[in-house]
Amino acid sequence: MAQRIVVEKPGTRVFVTRFDAQQRAQHILLIVSFFVLAITGLPLKYSDWGISAWWMGVWHGVDNVRAVHHYAAWLMIATCAYHVMYVLVSRPFSTAMLPRVSDFRDFVQDLKHTFRLSKEPPQYDRFSYRNKAAYWLVYPGAAVMIITGLILLYPTQATTRLPGWTLPLALMIHSDAAILATGWVICVHMYFAHFSRHSFPFDKSVLTGKVPLERYREEFPREYARIVATEKLPSLPVGGPAVAGPTESSPDEQASPEESLPGDEAAVDEGE
């Protein structure tokens, strides 16, 4: 990624590019396919609920729901393949998502900070340990869902190569893993993606690809420092709307990035 700092309407707001167009497309495709799979799959699991029968009526029958479930499954498979190809092909080969020792340190620091044992919040680089966990959990999750789903989609062909007991086992795992994935996305992923003091109530950075510079300094201070060191910050009036960001801040927080070094802001905000 060449130039990370982008200025929208010169003199107004400064952003840091966090996701490129392909990454955004991949996440949107994943959202769409996941959502469609959930709303067409869960009524089958909970078939005795009244709302399931109603929902099947809306789709004019269980056959249509199954067809849509299969289309969405192929879309998700294609999205996963697209992402893997993208990672392998794109140059320079990105290692930002690989887990490191610092992630474990960040995790311990985050625990300490949460339990008020330390006033210092963890200083994240390009991706926090949470981002990495969310990313890497998708691989086993998608693998389990895709493999069991394909067994259920082609039961007779699957049992020409696999033992027969894989069929009922695939059904049980597919259904339990669906509940796990849906519950995880709704409760854990939504909470940590959106219910953050940086972006509450909705973090649209994965759709727009951009994060305000001000927020980037708070959320990813280590990468922020690296970006600022390599790229020239656009000259903007000190304390102007560009750096202060859209959130309401007390006057002492409206400092230019040069004055408040990475981490200071967060420490002020959190360490009351």
């Binding site: 009526g57 049992t159 033992p163 854990v188």
Partner: protein, 391 residues
Amino acid sequence: MTSPPSTRGTPRHWPKRCSRTSVLALATGLLALLVLTLSAWLNGGTASAHPGNTCDPEPGHGTPGCHVGVSTTSLPPGQAPQGMDVVPRSGPAVSAEPNAVQMFEDQNDCLSCHGNPALATLLTRKRPDGSYIVLYVDTKGSYNSVHRYKDCTSCHGAQPHEVNTPLTKLSLSEKCGTCHEYEYRQHKKSVHGVPLQQGNTDPATCTDCHSATSDPHNVVRVLDPASSTYPKNVADTCAKCHNNPELMDKYGIVEKVYASYMRSFHGKAIKLAPKNSAIQQLDTATCVNCHGAHNITAVNDPKAPVAGKDNLLNTCRSCHRDAGPEFVKGFVGHKAVNSDFLPQVYWGGKSFRLFSQIMLGGGLLIVASSISLRAAPWITRKLRHRRRKEG
């Protein structure tokens, strides 16, 4: 009119000017329509339900006015034909719908007595065992009976009042079999038919499956969407007996066949099909597709289509054309997996369930701790900040 007064009379709002007249016209039209509908309903409502009806039944008389030229015994109310001991029976009030008889082939005018709802509580006969034969034929409930154009005497004989042995559950299939020979022969050899001939009244006879109310007068065409044999209703029809714990205990059927069918994909596809599904939308196995219908056999009968892996494979292949032997080995059927039956599925499923519960529980714990330790204090701090700023 709810238009604000400021817009009144301005030429730009010309539709408002004529809207008052149009509303008046509309209201008049609606009122006229309402009056017309009401009068039509009051005048024609009852008449249009029975077109061509000119003779009403005489009130208080047993025989309605419509005769087809056959002399029937006209009886005062409460008196039965000879040879019948009439037992007054209290039943639900039946609405008088005497002319419904016209929907049925009734050459001997039997329904003038047996179809008269006014006599529903009277036309009852006591069997030697103390049960009652209801001699009233509910024509309204049998409006779609497949045999409504068969004359009563086709089944009840030329001298229906002279019979020594009335039709019972045991003799019924023989009667049906006079026309439906093939089905009768199959049923006679089936797990339902054999005990029936030995005098056991528990198993299903023709009408138990072919009529929702086990009423021979209410046998409905097999693929009538309202029939108890329509694919969407088959499982519920079988469940009348096979989901009855006492009856199943009596015959040692331990599997919860109805519940396990409804948990299977076959059952879910049937259950979730829309109420008015066409037959093409119901191409999913119901009970009879695997177990047979008239020729139904016990599952432990070696000839049963579900007995043994070979028979089962042939049965599965009737829909899953390219199924192989492993496909059948993994079939759970109505049983539940346990440490002996498909142990891989039992332990695999159990461990994955435990794993996903731990994962989801851990995730929820992290979120809960974050909410209580981070989000909640942050929100209160923000609120306090704001209050201080305002105050």
